[in-house]
Symmetry: C2
Subunit: 250 residues, 2 copies
């Protein structure tokens, strides 16, 4: 390993770098759980009908990027980029390792394509139900996020069969350190797919929720983020020690 960790303690390692630079150096990964940038926010729909572009601006997790509006090139580059990191992550993973990739509805078909093109066996779409609805102006309110999941070849033998739908309210207020942050309970739900002792990888760590959940479950973990501000936030969060009750908080 030539890359230098930004943080390392208690089986948890953080790299402050581009995912594609670090992933080729990893091996022995037992589970990949991540929430990559969606590159969504309404920028990619070939949009014949949308009246007001402004309604997508800043309503999602990403700002609208006008230079990409209505251009399917980005849909394709999102596919290529997703395939690249997913393949690199799979190369470092053991046989049977599960992969979980968050996506919004817009990018879900591209994500399922990327997972398969990268060599993973796609096995399903799990749903994180946020328990509330946001009216989106044209019809149904979006109250769920999706997780495209699969395995590296045949699934490892497992004792736990988590449900394909998990209900949990989103993070709010001071606990929210990142615009796209997921609650730890959501990550613990997905980590039930990991076998005992599996090395957890999150190539787009953000504020470190996946790593925090892995730590609370007693699993070693590797996180990568290119933004040093988030590496710092995550490192602080992980340095706070394990939670009481053996990390089995509901």
């Amino acid at each position: 390993m030539t890359a230098e960790p930004y943080y390392s303690a208690d089986g948890i390692t953080i790299y402050c770098a581009e995912a594609l630079d670090v992933l080729p150096e990893l091996s022995g990964v037992g589970a990949v759980v991540t929430d990559p940038p969606y590159s969504s926010g309404g920028a990619f729909r070939g949009d014949r009908t949308r009246g007001v572009v402004a309604k997508y601006v800043q309503t999602g997790t990403l700002a609208y990027r006008p230079e990409f509006a209505g251009d399917s090139r980005d849909q394709r580059s999102f596919l290529v980029w997703s395939t690249l990191w997913l393949n690199a992550a799979r190369q470092g993973s053991v046989s049977g390792a599960p992969v979980c990739v968050f996506s919004d509805w817009r990018q879900l078909p591209t994500t399922t394509d990327a997972v398969q093109v990268a060599g993973w066996t796609w096995r399903g779409i799990a749903v994180w139900a946020k328990g509330y609805g946001r009216v989106n102006g044209s019809g149904m309110s979006s109250s769920a996020e999706f997780v495209c999941w699969g395995t590296n070849g045949p699934a490892a033998e497992r004792e736990d069969y988590p449900p394909g739908l998990f209900t949990c309210p989103p993070e709010r207020g001071e606990d929210k350190r990142h615009v796209a942050q997921k609650p730890e309970a959501v990550m613990r739900w997905l980590l039930r797919l990991a076998t005992p002792g599996a090395l957890v990888l999150d190539p787009f760590m953000g504020s470190g929720t996946t790593l925090r959940a892995a730590m609370d479950l007693g699993l070693p973990a590797v996180g990568i983020d290119s933004d040093e501000r988030y590496c710092e936030i995550a490192a602080k969060r992980l340095a706070q020690g394990v939670l009481p009750f053996g990390g089995v908080l509901a």
Copy 2:
């Protein structure tokens, strides 16, 4: 209209024919809500080409539910076929009409492609949460079905914004007349997208749940099914008159 209705009463019409034969003759459709054959059911071709009862209810001892046809297409023909009927349905629809197409996780990306290629504006993925799931041995249990939805051009103005996730247990026992039957409450949920008085179309009627829900909501409806056994079941079900309580049973 040259096709001869199999049943017609109280604003409800049933055609016993192939969807692609009848759809070109329809016009003025205000909402398309349907549950087409998924052509899904397993990673192995042998599993997919099995009869629907064998591949979907193999563990059960019940054999009284009729088989249904058109469930063994491969990926390419499923896409082409879906595009064809979706386009034909759109041609007969008024501007702003919503479309809702059920899918399982495996066919969801193909379904979103077909909806868009057929000229509909894709607007989201809604989730029917069944409340519990069937374990599949390799990881998460599948406890949801998905609804790809959109509109014919700009969405019609509406007052009702149904939630993007709806929880309701699946039909069981004698109320279940079709292997893939959806509860009426699920269909009423989707029909909230229809404007008042809209003509509802279900090209793959099955046992007629969509039509029954439309009838209870006071909406006119057209159903199509190629299997006369299901046309008979649906006609009987629709001839029973409106439910008490103004059709707002929970």
